[in-house]
Amino acid sequence: MTGLALQQYLDFAYIAAVVLFVLSLRFLNSPTTARMGVLCGEIGAALAVVATLFNPEVAHYKWVLIPLIVGAGVGVPLGLVHMTAVPQRTALSHAFGALSAAMIGIAEFYVGTEPVTRFQMGEIGLEVIIGSLTFTGSLIAAGKLQEILPQRPIVYRGQNIVSLSVLGAALALAVALVVNPANAWLFPIMVIVALIFGVLLVTPIGGADMPTVISLLNSYAGFSAALLGFVLNSKVLVVAGALDGSSGFILSVIMCKAMNRSFSNVMFGAFGQVQTSAAGVKEERVVRSANPEEAASILSAANKVVIVPGYGMAVAQAQHKVRELYDVLTKKGIDVRFAIHPVAGRMPGHMNVLLAEADIPYDRLIEMDEINGDFPQTDVALVIGANDVTNPAARTDQTSPIFGMPILDVDKAHTVMVIKRSMNPGFAGIDNPLYYMDNNLMLFGDAKQFVGSIVRELGTGH
């Protein structure tokens, strides 16, 4: 009877956790309530973990508490990484999550006295395959983002056929296990094949496509947790996994839409490897450039300035200098806003986090759809390390690989100034006609240094 009563407390703790998880995500719909959302998530997770420690099946606390302490010891530093390292941290945490899901699935296969049924075998097989491939795939993605591994897409002829055969082999092994679960020796082979597939899946994808890949891996990690919930008949896992899975899926769809590309193009397109050849037939065209002093004087003559940050600002870690620029200009009474393209930078929302880190108030960060109408009334659009997301060819040139991608219409501002180090193309590998326009000035240099020089100029003379 007390055993039954305990089970009820556990059940209700899990139900409360599920409710808190949903509320947690709901509170994230606005920055004012978002921290409340984290609190809800924390309470829900704590409830579930503590309840589980009371589960009578948990008899050997040594094997639980030591790993928990280790986990906390690893988790806290991973929570304190620098903001610019967030993309690779996210990839790494997907790897951890998938590793854990895969290991539980494997343990579930070997645990217990009675052999698994065919139906359970099917669930476990699928779960372990998804978990394993997400584990290695996420590790590769983290490596590329951390620049331990080469960023370029690594491709060879017939690679899609090889990859798909490996996936097919993993699935065939799972089917063989379902047909006869007694063939337990097939199981480790299946795991290894799935691990290999994860490597093959992500290696050919270029570093700049990693954000979409991360989101997809996010949704895989979520779905493997949900599947694990099916295996263990644990509804809290099913719910948390479904929430995580749909979140990753929605983010990947948002990114693909913002790039005007399809899923399969991202996964199999090996984007960003050859298109530089498209820029082959380049005519001599006039490019005007300016130095920090000229840029500062143009800025101080403006009334409305829109700053467009991009990947280059993140790489150069220029956000704090940008904040100084924002301060100086604001103090001069100039209206400064930031135009945020949904796929600027290396992950969805990346620019927002960097600028928020530099203490720029979030109501100055304006989404693309909202700010695009304002460029014709903007005196200066200052592009800092962004390229593709400002390329007017996406609007006008039907032959461009990015034709149809929604972009920030900076070219409609009275004056455009672009801070970048060279005339080199951005991630999409294509020329940007913006740089040859009459109202455009190139500010060649590293983003952090150049912005710093402008701030100094503004501080002294103007």
């Binding site: 094997w63 790993p67 690893v74």
Partner: protein, 98 residues
């Protein structure tokens, strides 16, 4: 097909709908924190890992379970820490502009 499977399928489908409706309305401003928060929530697989490790059935399963506990709990702790850190950075102009 076990009855549990059917009821888990209902839960999965409905949770998917909830996720879809709720997440579509998360402000794009917060898409990065969203990723780290869902990561922390997903780390709830730690509860399954705790049971596997705590049952201590065979050495193999216990080791697998213990690794899983450490891996997912680090996600949980790290995910909440970094999400909260990020969100603390978001300040509106009204509240902080001096």
């Amino acid at each position: 097909m076990p009855a549990d499977f059917i009821s888990n399928l209902y839960v999965f489908i409905l949770a998917g709908f909830v996720g879809f409706e709720v997440i579509r309305r998360v402000s794009p401003l917060l898409h990065t924190p969203l990723m780290s928060l869902t990561n922390a929530l997903d780390a709830i697989v730690v509860v399954a890992a705790i049971i596997i490790a705590g049952r201590h059935e065979t050495t193999l399963t216990t080791v697998l379970g213990a690794i899983a506990v450490a891996a997912s709990f680090s996600n949980m702790v790290g995910g909440f820490v970094i999400t909260d850190r990020m969100l603390r950075m978001f300040k509106s102009g009204r509240s902080k502009q001096s």
